[in-house]
Structure formats: structure tokens, C-alpha cells
């Protein structure tokens, strides 16, 4: 435990020094906050572009707060995942091939605490980014477009946190198996594949982690909740499996042989 805590502290220090702890939350906040603002000003923006007839503009509806919150969530599952995966792709690979892992792992540090600390670092980054940006988007939505139900909003946020946790665990695993950008590409393809599979055949993939996204999007307008239990359990098990596989793989690889490079 102490070991894990020490590596975690070092990881957070590294993230502060590389400004990751600042730029990732800021970028996500910008991405997400623009959603309610552009929806609110959409008629103005269209009018300024000048190609829409007046009558059409007059009847142009400003979307409701629920619709905008759903599109806010959509930003997390597209650009949000992209940024978290790219920010996390070097998390293990960078240290293994940069040679720092060799320094850390020659000491009696177990692969388990190494991977857990790395994962916890990425999770901290994700939680900080998610909570700040979700709160900001919520604030703007309420300010501009009307109230959002507390219960549904929080449930949807929680389900998205679970999905992002899954994305991060997958990235940690592939960052252990492969080098940097290859790890990011494969993680993103897998995540995209899982969401696509679910949207093509929802009934076959009722257990899929991607179901969480659908439940969250349906929850916000206040429709009755599907059972969250099944996809939640699969997601947690898959996260655990990713971490165990990462630990096992790191232990088996040991320290990469840098003489060969």
C-alpha cells in the first residue's frame, strides 16, 4: 500500500510538471461548456451566417435543457475519450521505454503496485476533469436553457464516469502491452467497436459497457431507467480484468532490454 501511494504521489508530481493536470481539465471544460452556449446562440449564429430565410429562423426552436445535457454527455464519449486515451497512452509504455521503469522496478516494487498507482493517477486526472467540466456544463445549461433534474443528471454523470473508467483501464492495459501511439489507436478502436456493436444490436449486447451510455442518455429526459445492474457488473469486471492482465504482462516482460534498442 505504502509503495503504491509513493508511486502515485510521484505520478501526480509528473502530471503537474508536464502540465497535464492543467491542460486536460481545461480542454475538456472548453469542449463541454461550448455545447449549451452554442445551442443557445444557434439562431443568432445562423442569422449571422445569412443563408437562412427569415421565416425559418423565427420558428427555430432553442433545444431544451435535457437535449443539451444529452449532447454534453455525447462530447465525453467522443472527444472526451479521445483526449483521456491520448493523454494516458504513455502512462506505462513511456516509462518502460524511457528507462525510468528500469530504475523503479529494480527496487523491490511489485508490478501490482506500479500498475495500480498508474491507474489511480489516470483516474484522478479523469475525475478532476469530469467533475469540473460536468459542473460547468450543468451550470450553463441551467442558466441558459432551464432546469435539469438533479437525480437524473447525477445518475447519468455516474454512469459516464463508469464508462470512462473502463476506457482508462483499457488504455493502461494496452500501454503495458504496446508502445505509445499504437496503444492509443488500439484502445480507441476497441472502444469504438464496443459502442458500435452495442448501437447496431442493442439486444445482443445488453451486458455491454456501452449500454451504460445509452441508459445515461435516456435517463436525462426522465424516461424510466433500464436495469443498470448487469452492464455495471460487466464493466467493473472488465476493468479488473484489464488491470490484472496489465500486472501479469508487466511482470512477465519485466524490464525491457534497452541494450537491444
Amino acid at each position: 500500500m505504502r509503495q503504491t501511494w509513493l508511486i502515485y504521489r510521484k505520478e501526480m508530481l509528473g502530471m503537474t510538471r508536464s502540465y497535464q493536470l492543467l491542460w486536460v481539465p481545461v480542454v475538456i471544460m472548453l469542449l463541454v461548456v461550448m455545447q449549451p452556449i452554442t445551442s443557445y446562440y444557434l439562431p443568432d449564429i445562423l442569422a449571422a451566417s445569412g443563408s437562412m430565410p427569415e421565416e425559418l429562423l423565427a420558428g427555430f426552436p432553442i433545444p431544451g435543457s435535457a437535449e443539451v445535457m444529452v449532447s454534453v454527455l455525447g462530447q465525453y464519449s467522443s472527444f472526451g475519450v479521445l483526449i483521456f486515451v491520448i493523454a494516458g497512452m504513455q502512462v506505462v509504455a513511456g516509462e518502460r521505454y524511457g528507462g525510468t521503469a528500469a530504475l523503479v522496478l529494480v527496487r523491490p516494487v511489485s508490478s501490482a503496485s506500479f500498475i495500480c498507482a498508474k491507474w489511480a493517477g489516470q483516474m484522478t486526472l479523469m475525475l478532476i476533469s469530469f467533475v469540473t467540466s460536468y459542473a460547468a456544463a450543468w451550470y450553463y445549461t441551467v442558466l441558459l436553457l432551464g432546469p435539469v433534474s438533479w437525480r437524473e443528471g447525477l445518475i447519468a454523470g455516474g454512469l459516464y464516469i463508469l464508462w470512462l473508467t473502463f476506457a482508462i483501464s483499457l488504455t493502461v492495459l494496452f500501454s503495458t502491452l504496446l508502445r505509445g501511439s499504437v496503444a492509443a489507436v488500439i484502445s480507441l478502436l476497441l472502444i469504438a467497436g464496443i459502442s458500435l456493436g452495442h448501437s447496431l444490436a442493442p439486444s445482443w449486447f445488453a451486458w455491454s459497457p456501452a449500454r451504460l451510455l445509452m441508459i445515461a442518455a435516456a435517463a436525462i429526459p426522465g424516461s424510466p431507467l433500464d436495469s443498470v445492474l448487469f452492464p455495471t457488473i460487466t464493466t467493473l469486471l472488465l476493468c479488473l480484468a484489464c488491470l490484472v492482465a496489465a500486472i501479469w504482462s508487466l511482470r512477465r516482460q519485466g524490464i525491457p532490454d534497452l541494450r537491444g534498442d
Binding site: L22, L30, Y41, I86
Partner: protein, 62 residues
């Protein structure tokens, strides 16, 4: 088109913070991929995307 600037001020502040962070990181980096002045232009004129690209692709991490 009347814009409520008070509403947009936090967003503009965030953009400025992002750009300044990228510039400070660039100035303090010992080496980056490619020339520093090109990255400075990318960050200054590339808006949000320029800074993101710098953070992802420009930094030389050992």
C-alpha cells in the same frame, strides 16, 4: 446580434489559460519536436486545437 459578454467571459478566460500554459510549457522545455518558434505560432494562431496539438505531439518526453 447581441452577445452577453459576461456569459462568455469564463470561456474566454479558459482559452487564455490554456494558451498561456502551452506557451509557458514551450518556453521552459529544453527541447521540443521541431523548432520552438513554429510551435509558438501554432499555439498563438491555432486557438484551442493548436495548444492541444502542442501538448500531445510537440513535447519531448524522455
Amino acid at each position: 446580434m447581441n452577445i452577453n459578454w459576461g456569459l462568455l467571459a469564463p470561456v474566454i478566460a479558459l482559452q487564455i489559460i490554456l494558451m498561456l500554459t502551452a506557451l509557458i510549457s514551450l518556453a521552459r522545455a529544453e527541447s521540443v519536436k521541431g523548432a520552438k518558434w513554429i510551435w509558438a505560432l501554432v499555439i498563438l494562431f491555432g486557438n484551442i486545437v493548436g495548444s492541444i496539438i502542442y501538448f500531445i505531439a510537440g513535447r519531448n518526453e524522455a
